[in-house]
Amino acid sequence: MAKRIDIKDVNIYYGKFHAVDSVTLSVPPRSVTAFIGPSGCGKSTVLRSLNRMHEVTPGARVEGQVLLDGEDIYAANVDPVEVRRTIGMVFQRPNPFPTMSIRDNVVAGLRLAGVKNRKRLDEVCERSLRGANLWEEVKDRLDKPGGGLSGGQQQRLCIARAIAVQPDVLLMDEPCSALDPISTLAIEDLITELKQDYTIVIVTHNMQQAARVSDQTAFFNLAGVGQPGRLVEVDDTEKIFSNPSQKATEDYISGRFG
């Protein structure tokens, strides 16, 4: 369970374009780390490099090391499929599988990994849906399609799907950007609960959200158009929001930006 991540001097490229410059950062286990920063500064890119999702994009590559409890996930003999099984991900837009029912969506990861035992699948389904605070709302319609839920429910369904495979780390890319304040609060509560068991990294554009849910905040910025994004500073969330050491961070979080 919950593992520690150490990002060491990571440079990320899309083909020839240098998107992110030399990021070094540690994420302790059982904590929430928030990535904040202006649009296009590479938050999603860094996040996607943490479970080797980045390399799914044609031409994209990563240099440097990402250590999961000391083990480099970019080492030559590491299977990216295994990495993604250990490090789960929730995306900005809810993306339930449209051909599957709610139940099948939740247990998709296990089913596709070959688990057939109906009882076990049902248990995991209920536990994950409870974990994602969705059980009460959907328990009577588990056989209905996942696409028929509201946006906020779909997003929680995607969280249930991600935690059903029991990853060690959960990456979330703006999981609340398409949601109303109530669903957002539900998901924030959920994140706070989940951090008992998981290491969580979350990208958000919402300062209050970063302040509410995270223990540690990393601020990314762009030196200029066409320049790579870089990590400006990372510190305890309280410190970042009350007394950041960099001027750029202070400008950004106080809204005096650009």
Partner: protein, 303 residues
Amino acid sequence: MTTATTDLHRPATGPAFQGIGAGRKIKNAVATTLVALAFLVAVVPLVWVLWSVVQKGLQPILSADWWTHSLYGLRPYDDRGGAYHAIYGTVVQALSTALLSVPVGVMVGVYLVEYGAGTRLARFTTFMVDILTGVPSIVSGLFVYALWISILGFGRSGFAVSLSLLLLMIPVVIRTTEEMLRIVPNELREASYALGVPKWKTIVKIVLPTAMSGIVTGVMLGLARVMGETAPALIVGAYASSINLNVFDGNQANLPLLMNDQFANPETAGFNRTWGAAMSLVLIIMLFNLLATVISRLSAIKK
């Protein structure tokens, strides 16, 4: 700036909305008429064809013999017999075409979209598919004749007909698969990868099922198209008035061949058989389309 502000606050004089001007009404009327006319031009011949087929072809197919007997041993003017031999041939030849073309076509489509995107091999394949799409059916018949019958020494058979239909069918299946896979959102693939599902499994269990209904529809439409092809059947198959259950050996009739044969028969029986076969063909194609709708409904994306 100041004028704009005062404008906003000035009380409105006269009605805010004017009626539709005469010019616009006329344009609207003209455009509506043109669209309706175009619709008629397109639909009238269609309905007419269908009407002729039903009017002349319905009578012959209403007898039970039509669906159970062949024309074996009957003289041109005998008003008996049926088209079972040709109906069987059409269905079996179409099925063997589907059985061979669907796996090949779907796999090529998957390669083009999921694996080969942008590679030289993929571009070359797409280019060849484009060319193959434009090959006239008679050319594909000639090709199969040259290869399968002249060089390899196999005889004419229903299967030879299937082979030439295959050449027409494969590009259709590849194209359909390609298009349907391309509209599967990348987010679904990433969602699956994020669960630690390998790429091939993502394609088989997530991407293909999502694209399934579109692929099925495309395949069925393609099949309906090639079922009516006559030229290849004339070259590599040959008409037989008797029932031949073996698709691999000997002359095997199909509906286009039956029509071609009986069209030359000046008797009333010939007329009836030709139109009866036309009606049967239309019915079978309709049945295939219906089947396609049902299958794609069953596998459709659930909302």
